[in-house]
């Protein structure tokens, strides 16, 4: 479709006659060169490496010399309509052409361009000079219709790393042929290319076309040997390129320049017939697509971010392209500036030495000029004093770089907006400016989807819905939202467009990036909870990994203890929402393990405030461990930890008491043993304050400790004995604590306790039951007690669970 008439020239139709101002030295050199590139006065074929600064310089010089009337660029043919935007003053690279299927925004492909990309340079040159720009690659309507529209397939044939095992890497092949082998393995090919093409092209004294000639020749030989080299789709793309090239030549004569991957150059000069090319393109699947520009970042250009744009060091390449002269000196000065800003003392003498070392290293390695390897070695050895920590900073901030592109407001809508609109329609959620409340019952599919959408938007920083306290309190299957759509949320959605093309994909990417950036453990647990709520199972592995890593390195047990309850809660949510929580459970178990190891020593020697805080943590962890799936193992170990806490003298009384109590409640120790622990804690040698704290830990708080004393007279007797034995001087010290402990009991319990104490010890015998309590018979009436059980099961849901 784009082949016949979809092309719109960006600028005014080329008016300058390129040949009229042919500049002397350049055209002279061209005539004598072995003209593969311009065989028989044909079009100017500039084979480049995508994102190569040397290629970019070369392209600029060649275009300046030849001044073609039209520049053909490797890129989806539909993008012709968007070319004018590239000249917009608000457009700042790195940006990417984004093509997406209209019905399925998740199907998308990107063509990233940085300020030093040859394609970008060619486009800008043409726009500045009034030359026409055409994109000549296969239209996205076909590439996206293919089964696997990964963008690397849509991009270039040069970079063989992107996937399929059979692909060849032309650069490695060329480097191998040139005898560049090195111990550094795959770095050797990269280095060879840098030496031969990127660094040499920097000196523009020679013929601007000659390097392209040489490269085209080399690639021609490679293509002869390898054919499509593992990219069968290249043949189709190249057929399309040839057709476009013919069309351009019909219109502009020979005043045509083509900027494409060097790999494709031989194919463009091949003699084929129009009919043969058309036959290749026949019957390609189609899908309705839309294109737009989106902002891009250097990090995504970098290979390690996983987008595979093909370059390790966008920041370095940008520097090479932008630096007017002395690139190494300027680079070292930049590095020194960064390190100084981060409080690493770096003097000018350091910079001088670093430049020298880089130069000498390059000489030793037989390279024409220091490349990234040499400069990095010099930075490490001189500026970073051998340490990799500041070096990582340099890598992250400079070699990759923080650059974020910008796209003018006039660019077509990003697919994320479209996706959001679609989802809103299908979920019947209207964006309204007035605030309204939405009650969701998560057991219904529609409401579940709505909840997920709102949670995802929240993750993306689009504040359409805010969770509100629901009428059902903290029930796990009800949610209440306050919805309000405000105009600026359009902007928020557009900003979130960098994260992905659908709400789900964008939220997943955002969650992942937040997980990687987060430093505090609590942030990541909160994020994990959010991911579960938003149903982002794609982000969970990364979040969980990050959580496990942080937990492994966090030395503060109380922080781990803080994180565990949220995780246990998430596990419960996961059940309700049907998300896969296996990974979560694994992390939670690991966390519990670490707490078990670290807790005893973290509890030693705490002051009163810290001990009180720790007591809460222990309570929370105790509950959380009970909630873990497959809890038997962790629970056993946890009991062991509590046991050690209860036994250790250096642990504050309140924690020892609490541990003893938890053990007793769990049935891990017998009643008699609890009494033993208590009598030990309350023995005369113990300072009264510590003993009072023990009592507080054991029976204090809203944990039903009073009833325990009511029902076990032995324990009560121990407390009573101890209390009467406290010396008069110490009594006033322990009184506030004891008062607080006992005042929290319910009035009835307090009264009963008072009566029991007043009646004196031993009156009711040493048994567990206390017949003296009013309203209770002497023995248990089993029949009546059993009658309660069905109701209890119903309330607790125990039968359903089992």
């Amino acid at each position: 479709m784009a082949s016949d008439g979809g092309t719109v020239s960006a600028g005014p139709k080329a008016s300058a006659d390129p040949m009229a101002s042919g500049e002397g030295p350049a055209s002279g050199g061209r005539l004598t060169s072995p003209a593969t590139v311009r065989r028989g006065g044909g079009p100017l074929l500039l084979g480049v490496r995508h994102h190569g600064p040397g290629s970019a310089r070369g392209v600029r010089a060649a275009l300046e010399a030849e001044k073609p009337a039209v520049v053909l660029v490797e890129g989806p043919a539909e993008a012709d309509a968007l070319v004018a935007l590239a000249g917009d003053p608000d457009m700042r690279p790195p940006v990417a052409l984004l093509a997406h299927a209209v019905d399925d925004p998740g199907r998308a492909a990107f063509w990233p361009m940085a300020s030093f990309s040859p394609e970008w340079i060619a486009i800008r040159w043409a726009l500045d000079r009034g030359a026409a720009v055409r994109f000549i690659d296969l239209p996205a309507t076909h590439t996206l219709a293919a089964s696997d529209p990964t963008w690397s397939d849509g991009d270039d044939g040069e970079e063989g790393f992107a996937g399929g095992g059979a692909r060849i890497d032309p650069i490695a092949e060329l480097a191998g042929a040139a005898g560049a082998t090195g111990a550094a393995g795959d770095g050797a090919a990269e280095r060879w290319w840098e030496d031969v093409v990127e660094l040499c092209a920097a000196d523009d004294a020679g013929d601007p076309i000659a390097p392209f000639d040489a490269l085209a020749e080399a690639m021609g030989a490679l293509r002869e040997a390898y054919g499509h080299g593992g990219h069968p789709r290249d043949l189709v793309r190249e057929a399309y390129m040839r057709i476009q090239l013919r069309a351009a030549r019909k219109e502009f004569g020979d005043s045509v320049a083509v900027v494409c991957g060097a790999w494709h150059v031989p194919a463009l000069t091949r003699k084929t017939t129009v009919a043969a090319d058309r036959a290749l393109l026949k019957g390609l699947p189609k899908v309705k697509t839309e294109l737009t520009w989106v902002p891009w970042t250097h990090r995504r250009l970098a290979r390690r971010s996983g987008y595979g744009a093909g370059i390790d060091a966008p920041g370095w390449y940008e520097h090479l392209y932008a630096a007017p002269d002395r690139p190494v000196e300027r680079w070292m000065t930049k590095v020194a500036g960064l390190l100084r800003a981060e409080d690493h003392p770096v003097s000018s003498a350091h910079v001088i030495e670093a430049v020298r070392l880089a130069r000498n290293l390059a000489a030793l390695r037989g390279r024409p000029a220091p490349g990234l390897d040499e400069t990095t070695d010099a930075v490490r050895s001189v500026l970073c004093e051998g340490s990799d920590v500041p070096l990582d900073l340099v890598r992250d901030r400079l070699v990759v770089g923080d650059v974020l592109g910008e796209v003018p407001a006039g660019a077509p809508a990003v697919p994320l907006q479209r996706d959001l609109a679609r989802r809103r329609r299908s979920l019947r959620l209207k964006p309204e400016a007035t605030e309204r409340t939405l009650e969701l019952d998560l057991r219904k599919d529609m409401d579940g989807e709505r909840s997920r959408l709102l949670h995802r938007l929240r993750l993306l920083g689009v504040g359409w819905g805010e969770p509100a306290a629901g009428r059902a309190g903290t029930g796990t299957f009800r949610e209440t939202w306050r919805l309000r759509w405000e105009p600026e949320q359009h902007v928020q959605v557009a900003e979130a467009g960098v994260w992905g093309t659908t709400v789900e994909a964008a939220a997943t990417a955002r969650a992942r990036s937040r997980a990687e950036a987060a430093t505090a453990l609590a942030d990541i647990t909160a994020l994990a909870e959010q991911c579960l709520l938003a149903g982002l199972s794609g982000a969970l592995p990364v979040v969980m990994r990050s959580l496990a890593d942080r937990a492994a390195l966090d030395t503060d047990v109380s922080r781990l203890a803080e994180a565990l309850p949220a995780l246990a809660r998430s596990l419960r949510y996961g059940d309700v929402r049907g998300t896969d929580t296996a990974a979560l459970a694994e992390v939670a178990a690991g966390l519990a393990e670490r707490i078990c190891v670290g807790l005893p020593s973290a509890c030693a020697g705490l002051d009163t405030d810290a001990a009180t805080a720790m007591r809460e943590r222990i309570d929370e962890v105790h509950q959380a461990i009970g909630l873990l799936p497959d809890a038997a193992g962790p629970a056993d170990r946890w009991a062991g930890v509590l046991r050690r806490l209860a036994d250790r003298d250096r642990v504050p009384g309140v924690l020892r008491g609490r541990a003893a109590r938890l053990l007793l409640d769990e049935g891990r120790i017998a009643d008699g043993e609890a009494a033993l622990l208590m009598s030990r804690a309350l023995s005369p040698g113990t300072p009264p304050a510590g003993a009072a704290a023990w009592i507080d830990g054991f029976v204090g708080g809203a944990s039903g400790g009073g009833l325990l004393l009511v029902h076990d007279e032995r324990l009560l007797g121990l407390v009573d004995d101890w209390l009467t034995g406290v010396p008069a001087g110490a009594f006033t010290d322990v009184l506030p604590l004891l008062r607080r402990t006992f005042s929290e009991y319910e009035p009835g319990v307090r009264r009963t306790l008072g009566e029991l104490v007043a009646r004196g010890p031993g009156a009711g015998g040493a048994g567990h039951s206390t017949p003296g309590v009013p309203g209770f018979a002497a023995t248990l009436d089993r029949e009546r007690a059993d009658a309660v059980l069905p109701l209890l099961h119903l309330v607790l849901g125990t039968e359903v669970m089992a």
């Binding site: 030793l364 070695d377 990799d388």
Partner: protein, 388 residues
């Protein structure tokens, strides 16, 4: 247990007397200097080397790098690799020596710092004996100059009564001087190097003279930055050095290999029985050391905390050797998990509070779940409890 410093060297040995002994017939000494042991290779390199040489260098930087990393010369002479490790490191080190900055080799014990420094000096200057061994008691005289007191009293201060240090001789002759264990030297003595390295001169105020360095002079220092009881370099001194960190063996297999080889050598000299089937246990020790050192498990899935100790390859060797002795004298002659467990505990837990937690966490979260490590887990639990 003596910790061997130079593991990467094929035939290790005892530190020899570092005095200004002149060449002796190779066969008669216990451990010949590098320039004697590899004299043939050095001569072949010098003959084949047509690249520019810095003043007073015996070889070009390229040839020095080749000498260390190994290779084959055009005439067929095979140069054995002296250092097995990243090429980059050797290249940076050699290049540094060609500038006027001194070279500082950093690394934990067992990363072949001394070995590299000796061979660099041998290849660059043809003499690796201009050496100052750093200790807590290294005096200023060892770095600058001393006096022959008999002459000083008899003749008064004169150039003849002065006893030059190796560093001073290197300056005067344009040679490469070496300082071993720089961080062991007291800080005030360390700082006497500052003038030498920045001004390239050594004043002798007693004589009103100075010794100025001639082209070709440079200095290689080695230091261990992770041990305890070191004197941090002042930043003024640190600025005079280009720093190269020698890494630990890159792969577990390489490290297992080094440990096994050294253990066998040590075992022979200690007359311990050869260890049958012991390589599994060595692999386990190396795995534990590497995981704790790198802070991540071998499969890359779980992070672990790193203890405060260095956990160098040298320590792994002594753990295995200790375990072997235990097995030979008190066990059944087969190296078992229990034999190494105590040694590992001792190597890992240097700080009784923090490191013990690190170790227990590692035991519980990593070792316990691992297939085939049950015995080891149990053994470690036992020794941990004993120590508690």
């Amino acid at each position: 247990m003596p910790v061997p410093e130079t593991i990467a060297q094929p035939g290790s040995g005892v530190e020899t007397d570092t005095g200004p002994g002149r060449p002796q017939p190779v066969t008669e000494v216990l451990r010949p200097h590098a320039e004697h042991a590899f004299a043939v290779e050095l001569a072949a390199l010098a003959a084949a080397d047509d690249r520019p040489r810095p003043t007073r260098w015996r070889l070009s930087p390229w040839a020095v790098a080749t000498y260390l990393l190994g290779g084959t010369l055009p005439d067929g002479t095979v140069i054995t690799p002296k250092y097995v490790g990243p090429r980059r490191i050797v290249e940076v080190a050699v290049t540094t020596l060609a500038t006027d900055r001194a070279l500082l080799l950093l690394g934990v014990p067992g990363t072949a710092k001394t070995w590299v420094s000796e061979h660099l000096a041998a290849a660059v200057s043809g003499d690796s004996t201009l050496l100052v061994q750093g200790t807590a008691g290294t005096p200023e005289e060892a770095v600058r100059y001393g006096w022959n007191y008999a002459r000083l009293i008899a003749e008064g201060p004169s150039r003849d009564a002065l006893v030059p240090s190796p560093v001073m001789r290197a300056m005067a002759q344009g040679m490469t001087a070496r300082v071993e264990e720089l961080t062991r030297i007291p800080a005030d003595v360390q700082d006497t190097l500052i003038t030498i390295l920045s001004e390239k001169t050594l004043p002798v105020p007693e004589l009103g003279q100075e010794v100025q360095a001639v082209p070709g002079f440079n200095l290689i220092a080695t230091a261990n930055d992770r041990d305890r009881g070191v004197n941090e370099l002042s930043s003024a001194l640190r600025r005079r050095f280009n720093t190269v960190v020698l890494p630990l063996p890159a792969t577990a297999e390489a490290e297992v290999d080094i440990v096994a080889r050294r253990v066998e050598q040590l075992g022979r000299s200690l007359e311990l029985p050869a260890l049958p089937e012991g390589v599994d246990e060595i692999r386990r020790v190396v795995t534990v050391f590497r995981e704790l050192r790198d802070g991540v498990t071998t499969d890359g899935r779980t992070k672990v905390k790193s203890p405060s100790g260095t956990l160098s390859t040298a320590e792994a060797i002594s753990v295995v050797t200790g375990g072997l002795a235990l097995a030979a004298h008190f066990g059944d002659g087969v190296l078992r998990p229990a034999d190494v467990a105590a040694g590992i505990l001792g190597a890992v837990v240097r700080d009784p509070a923090a490191d013990r937690l690190v170790w227990q966490e590692y035991l519980e979260t990593v070792v316990r779940e691992r297939d085939g490590w049950k015995d080891f887990y149990r053994a470690c639990r036992e020794v941990s409890h004993d120590a508690r």
